[in-house]
């Protein structure tokens, strides 16, 4: 039986590969489950908890999409991917959407043939120093020893930053984040640099997090967002606008607490359009009228997801920063629902 499966699959593989790009929305509906690619484990962004339930900021995006398309936030098959397997998993059709802290870059968008539908977390490289060092700005780091992961873009960004500001530094090359924690705590370097969200998570794991500060300077752009395959624009639209519904919901004050009340009808036509009580935006996407309502009810709006998983009241304690709404000086800006 297994043999016939292999032979059969080999023969139709060529034909099917071409068809993989089209009509993901229909596939998901027929399957009754969303195949969502997630990280194998990243603090705050995605990991199964003690009961085996996936939790996290990126996981929340998956659940919102499942709720919008299938009306059920639990109808998700989470497919863990590593940094090495994530793009093949998406390109081969094993997953419908990849929500795995993936940086939006030119080559990934154009050359690898993916579509980034938005940015759910604006990250960037930052610096962490012990409070005892008495440094409050990265500009004061002249002559510092810096722990840096070798062979990454962070290494290049660091060199650029110090050269630009006419400062010198002593690099301490390290291999992994775990090693970096040990080296930094042992005092082998004054500064540890990696993505700001990673710094916050690392700091949260310290015995005395209060003794260390993340400096305000961010020296690189790392826009992380969900992505889909190139060429299926209908499905791309579904994912894109589900994400923007979460962002817009925060802007207009739609929360998981008041969503039932608001969906009875309000004076604000934009809210009514999002919640499906005016115009039928859902039908244009090929979804129910209540698609965005389901997505927001799944885990709350963008701000709620942020606060619950990585916000200031969690052990990770990230502040909104660039990820605040545009009305609060951040970059979260949903196009109009109209």
């Amino acid at each position: 039986m297994k043999k016939s499966v292999i032979l059969g699959t080999l023969t139709v593989a060529g034909l099917a590969a071409g068809a993989a790009g089209a009509a993901t929305l229909d596939d998901v509906k027929a399957r009754g489950k969303l195949n969502c690619g997630v990280v194998t484990g990243l603090v705050g962004f995605g990991a199964p908890d003690a009961n085996g339930e996936w939790q996290g900021f990126d996981v929340g995006v998956c659940r919102a999409i499942a709720a919008a398309v299938l009306g059920d936030p639990t109808a998700v098959e989470f497919i863990p991917t590593t940094a090495k397997t994530r793009f093949t998993a998406l390109a081969s059709g094993e997953i419908d959407v990849l929500a795995r802290n993936t940086t939006w870059t030119f080559s990934r968008d154009v050359d690898l043939k993916f579509d980034f539908v938005g940015v759910n977390y604006y990250d960037g490289q930052g610096y962490m120093v012990p409070k005892a060092l008495g440094v409050s700005s990265a500009k004061e780091l002249d002559g510092a020893t810096v722990c840096i992961q070798t062979g990454t873009t962070t290494e290049l960004n660091l060199a650029d930053y110090f050269r630009k500001n006419n400062m010198s530094y002593q690099p301490v090359p390290i291999e992994t984040n775990a090693e970096a924690q040990q080296q930094y705590l042992a005092g082998a370097c004054d500064v540890y640099t990696t993505d700001a969200s990673g710094l916050a998570a690392t700091r949260a794991a310290f015995e005395n997090p209060g003794d260390h500060v993340v400096l305000p300077e961010i020296i690189s752009k790392e826009p992380l967002g969900p992505l889909v395959r190139h060429g299926d624009n209908d499905w791309g639209d579904v994912v894109r606008w589900t994400f923007y519904a979460l962002v817009a919901a925060e802007e207009y004050g739609i929360t998981s607490a008041n969503i039932e009340e608001l969906s009875a009808g309000t004076d604000n036509p934009e809210i009514n359009r999002i919640l499906g009580t005016e115009d039928n935006l859902g039908a244009m996407l090929g979804l129910d009228a209540g698609w965005a309502k389901n997505a927001i009810a799944a885990g709350g709006n963008y701000g709620e997801l942020f606060e619950k998983n990585i916000g200031e009241n969690t052990p990770i304690g990230l502040s909104r920063g660039l990820n605040a709404q545009w009305t609060d000086g951040g970059l979260m800006y949903a196009p109009p629902f109209r």
């Binding site: 292999i6 139709v12 993989a20 995605g46 003690a50 863990p80 090495k84 093949t88 015995e207």
Partner: protein, 430 residues
């Protein structure tokens, strides 16, 4: 004459002295210490340094273990309880032991099923490992075990493993019917009959007949996954390895070259590459939606890898036999199969035992590589979900020591068994 010396001898002892203990410095602990620890100045210094090192190690590790916290909801709570004292945060093991052993998606109410399969594994391998102790009738259970274990771990309808078993039975019946005429007819006839049987039964509706709750392969994880991969791949790769080793020594050029190319190619490629092929490259060839079981793909790849190594180990064993053994077989009028089965392989395999065990132990530890292709085996569980949870981020030593302990127990057990087996099979006079 007898009294000649009477006056010159002042005292003659007329009874034996009782035995006294040897001088203090020449017996017991002191003698042992002097002979073994302080036989020279240099050795004395080394002894003191070693003692001091052991003291340092113990004084660092012992409080860490004894002071360990076993009940706490997170690493921060652990640190609060410890309040600056040294101590391990073993609470992570208390809270996540089930995930470490079974993975995070295996339904917790049916943990008894893989546990039972694990216990039955010992019943199944006992008659194979200790032939003289256990009755040969137990081998019947050993033959049934793979199907029982599949049914217990994966669940689903009982008919699937039964049909799989019957396929082998049908194949064997056909084989034994035709083998008298020609080995090839029996061999290939048996394979064709088994495949035909599986193909036909593949159409039968088997859903829900005596079904246990079904668990998809994707949900397997933890140490269970390491054990499944290790057991299945080792037991499959030994027969494949023997076949490849014999094939490589064969006089038939096509068979010989197929075996040589297979062995050299597989040995020339790192296991991690084969795993990536299993996970990533095959996904391109499979149509979307067809999910050709990932564990099965990985088992095939690891088995191929291990059989290539075992084939070379066994070829070493075959090469070590003097030519006279082969000629002895020929002169007795045995055919190839009889000669191999009765004379050559028993000797060659005995020589190969240390090598085979070496491969088996290495292979078992290599199963942790599957964490790189996002399967949550023991190491994958630790590196991924557990260290990435906000509760346990930062608990390294406790988790990895636990993993090391589990692997050590299994690997040391295998190694001890193989040493016992070597002594047991030893027939020469050394």
């Amino acid at each position: 004459m007898s009294d000649t010396h009477q006056q010159s001898i002042g005292y003659v002892r007329d009874s034996m002295l009782p035995e006294t203990a040897p001088p203090l410095g020449e017996a017991g602990a002191i003698k042992w210490a002097r002979a073994n620890l302080f036989s020279s100045v240099a050795n004395g210094i080394l002894t003191l340094v070693a003692l001091f090192t052991i003291y340092l190690l113990i004084s660092a590790v012992l409080p860490w273990i004894l002071n360990g916290i076993w009940e706490a909801p997170s690493i921060r709570a652990c640190r609060e309880i410890l309040d600056g004292a040294t101590g391990g945060c073993f609470a992570v093991l208390t809270e996540r032991w089930n995930q470490l052993l079974f993975g995070f998606k295996y339904p917790s109410d049916i943990y008894w099923r893989p546990t039972l399969a694990f216990v039955l594994l010992f019943v199944a391998i006992a008659p194979v490992l200790f032939r003289k102790v256990f009755p040969a009738q137990m081998l019947v259970f050993t033959a049934l075990y793979p199907f029982v274990a599949y049914y217990l771990i994966w669940g689903g309808s009982i008919l699937i493993p039964i049909f799989a078993l019957l396929g082998f039975v049908v194949g064997y019946l056909v084989y034994s019917r035709f083998v008298a005429q020609s080995f090839a007819a029996g061999f290939f006839g048996g394979i064709v009959a088994a495949l035909l049987f599986w193909y036909v039964t593949g159409f039968l509706p088997v859903e829900g007949i005596l079904a246990l709750e079904e668990v998809p392969s994707r949900d397997m994880g933890g140490f269970m996954l390491n054990l499944i991969l290790g057991t299945v791949c080792v037991s499959l790769s030994i027969p494949f390895g023997i076949a490849l080793a014999l094939g490589r020594q064969s006089d038939m050029p096509i068979i010989k070259w197929i075996c040589v190319v297979f062995i050299e190619f597989i040995r020339g490629v790192p296991l991690i590459t084969l795993l990536f092929v299993a996970n990533v490259v095959l996904a391109y060839f499979l149509p979307p939606g067809t999910n050709f079981d990932l564990i099965l793909r990985v088992i095939i790849m690891i088995t191929m890898f291990a059989s290539a190594y075992i084939a070379e180990v066994i070829r070493g064993g075959l090469a070590a036999l003097p030519n006279g053994q082969y000629e002895a077989g020929d002169s007795l009028g045995l055919d190839y199969a009889q000669k191999m089965r009765l004379i050559i392989l028993p000797q060659a395999l005995k020589i190969s035992i240390p090598g085979i065990v070496n491969v088996a132990v290495g292979l078992f530890k290599d199963t942790t590589l599957v964490s790189v292709i996002s399967m949550f085996d023991l190491v994958g569980m630790i590196r991924g979900p557990i260290l990435a949870s906000t509760e346990w981020n930062g608990v390294y030593w406790e988790l990895l020591s636990f993993a090391a302990l589990l692997f050590f127990v299994v690997c040391y057990g295998i190694s001890q068994y193989s040493q016992w087996l070597e002594r047991e099979l030893q027939t020469d006079h050394r």
